[in-house]
């Protein structure tokens, strides 16, 4: 039923670009986009889809409503239907916020807001915004929409023009609460083990992002420091007729990120490095007659980076390549490839017109540390795979 509804929304989105500006006189705008992806892998099932036999289980449909009642005030909401394998099959609100821009140097946004961390976090889920079908998964994961993309709270932003020889500084700060629902991809690994977290997990978070536009045209460097407080959630686990209840705890995350980007005419290059050290722990409250197996702290300390480049071959065709790596430095060394994921990607995007585009992408993935789940790979994982993606999108 949801697929049918989404199909209808996608058709409607494609049919109404002409009306997108019809409410302009009221300072109200409606925009949107829809995408459909197809994944095929030579080994392993990826991103919780049946990709080894070819999977179309990747659909996005977005509607955006924005109004500007006052010159300095904007309000808006963006709703989405998102399907990606078992990670998500639901309608949700991307963001719903009010934005008051006092001047170039200071503005504030509050409500459910996009978290302005790192180089691409704000446009990570905006498929029409870039060439790639999937961004480097170590830094910009697709598996969880609610872990990094947005938060409930506020963002401040501002820009300072330095001297002509020093460039410009952009600064963002944010604080709020991040709520991860029980059906978010973040909790899928637990759910596949039978551990249900009915109310999800939440915790407060904050951070700052500084980007320096260098006096060299098109060049910028930036740094983000994000902090996420420990998150807790009550879980249920039923086995052999007994139901256990406990607390799932994820420790704080201190998350540094550094990047550089250079754009010149048809060419763009970027590189980014990030670290997200944390650990997971399960505390048993009620153990029933049989003691619940105590789980030790499970530490993770992934270090990830990528380097990418794109080139606009013609007005409509863009080509790109990236190399990304994710290594869990707290995992034991092994030959299985479970502690790392290395991904070479070649991409192309063709803009048919202002509204329609298609993408094609090939990944050469080495290692099994990312993008695979247990239930879709019950026969075990092979160390390498190639992933082919085709995607079509319409936006207005």
């Amino acid at each position: 039923m949801k697929r049918l509804l989404v199909g209808a929304i996608a058709l409607a989105l494609g049919a109404i670009p002409a009306t997108a500006q019809s409410l302009e006189d009221l300072n109200i705008q409606i925009h949107g986009y829809a995408t459909q992806g197809f994944l095929y892998t030579t080994n392993n099932n990826i991103l919780t889809t049946n990709s080894s036999t070819g999977s179309p289980d990747w659909t996005d449909a977005v509607v955006n409503l924005t109004a500007q009642p006052l010159p300095k005030l904007r309000v808006g909401v963006q709703a989405r239907y998102f399907l990606l394998g078992s990670y998500s099959n639901q309608f949700l609100i991307d963001w719903a916020a009010a934005d008051y821009k006092v001047n170039e140097k200071f503005g504030v946004r509050f409500g459910k807001v996009k978290t302005p961390a790192s180089l691409f976090n704000e446009i990570l889920d905006i498929d029409p915004g870039y060439i790639w079908s999937i961004m480097p998964q170590g830094v910009y994961t697709l598996s969880s929409r609610e872990s990094f993309l947005a938060h409930y709270g506020g963002v401040t932003y501002g820009k300072v023009n330095l001297s002509k020889s020093a460039g410009k500084l952009n600064c963002w700060t944010w604080i709020g609460e991040r709520v991860i629902a029980s059906n978010d991809g973040f909790l899928l690994p637990s759910a596949e083990k039978g551990i249900v977290v009915p109310n999800g997990v939440n915790g407060w978070m904050g951070g700052a992002h500084l980007a320096w536009q260098l006096p060299i045209p098109g060049a910028k460097v930036g740094a983000t420091y994000a902090y996420q407080a420990p998150r807790t959630g009550t879980f249920n686990y039923t086995t052999k007729g007994l139901t256990y209840t406990g607390n799932m705890v994820r420790s704080e995350i201190k998350n540094p990120d550094y990047y550089g980007q250079y754009e010149s005419g048809k060419f763009m290059a970027a590189a980014e490095w990030e670290r997200k050290a944390t650990y997971y722990e399960i505390d048993t409250i009620t153990a029933g007659a049989t003691p619940f197996p105590t789980l030790a702290k499970i530490p993770t300390d992934p270090h990830m980076w990528y380097a990418m480049a794109t080139y606009k071959v013609t007005g409509k065709l863009t080509a790109g390549v990236y190399d990304s790596q994710w290594v869990n430095r707290s995992a034991a060394l092994s030959t299985s490839g479970a502690r790392f994921s290395k991904d070479w990607d070649i991409s192309a995007r063709y803009d048919i017109n202002e509204f329609l585009y298609v993408k094609a992408e090939e990944h050469f993935i080495d290692g099994t540390g990312l993008v695979y789940d247990t239930n879709m790979n019950l026969g075990g994982l092979k160390p390498t795979t190639t992933l082919t993606i085709f995607k079509a999108g319409v936006s207005f």
């Binding site: 807001v113 005419g265 202002e354």
Partner: protein
């Protein structure tokens, strides 16, 4: 080797003038806009949503829906075609950072709108009538 390098620089410099010579557009603004000129970088910032201020005041960009003047303006001062340019604005809309600028049909409509709305800035063909607005020199 040096000769080759000088030759390359000469061609590159000449190509800049060729691009500028092709830009048969002027930038107009409402009389309330304090600035009388604008640098290419500031112009690009205003028309890509990176900045909303010019000469110490807030400005609102107004776009042409299409046509030769639109293409020339985007090519000369933004460095993008119309498709890529509007896609860039939509990225700002989808991330909650901006609203899409008003797009109007033809130079006369842009002049009319800019003349009657404080803080607005637009572009039109060089030969078009532009009474009631000020022309910003591009530095």
């Amino acid at each position: 080797m040096k000769k080759l390098l000088y030759g390359f620089l000469l061609v590159a410099t000449a190509s800049i003038f060729v691009v500028q010579a092709k830009a048969q557009v002027i930038v107009i603004a409402n009389n309330s806009v304090k600035a009388s000129d604008v640098s290419k970088n500031d112009l690009k910032d205003v028309f890509t949503g990176a900045s909303t201020s010019l000469g110490g005041g807030t400005v609102v960009p107004i776009l042409l829906k299409g046509g030769t003047a639109n293409e020339e303006f985007l090519q000369a001062y933004i460095g993008k075609n119309d498709t890529a340019y509007r896609a860039g604005w939509r990225n700002l809309v989808f991330t909650g950072q901006a609203t899409m600028p008003k797009s109007l049909d033809g130079d006369a409509a842009v002049v009319e709108f800019v003349a009657h709305n404080a803080g607005t800035i637009g572009y039109i063909g060089k030969a078009s009538a532009h009474e009631g607005v000020k022309v910003l020199a591009i530095k």
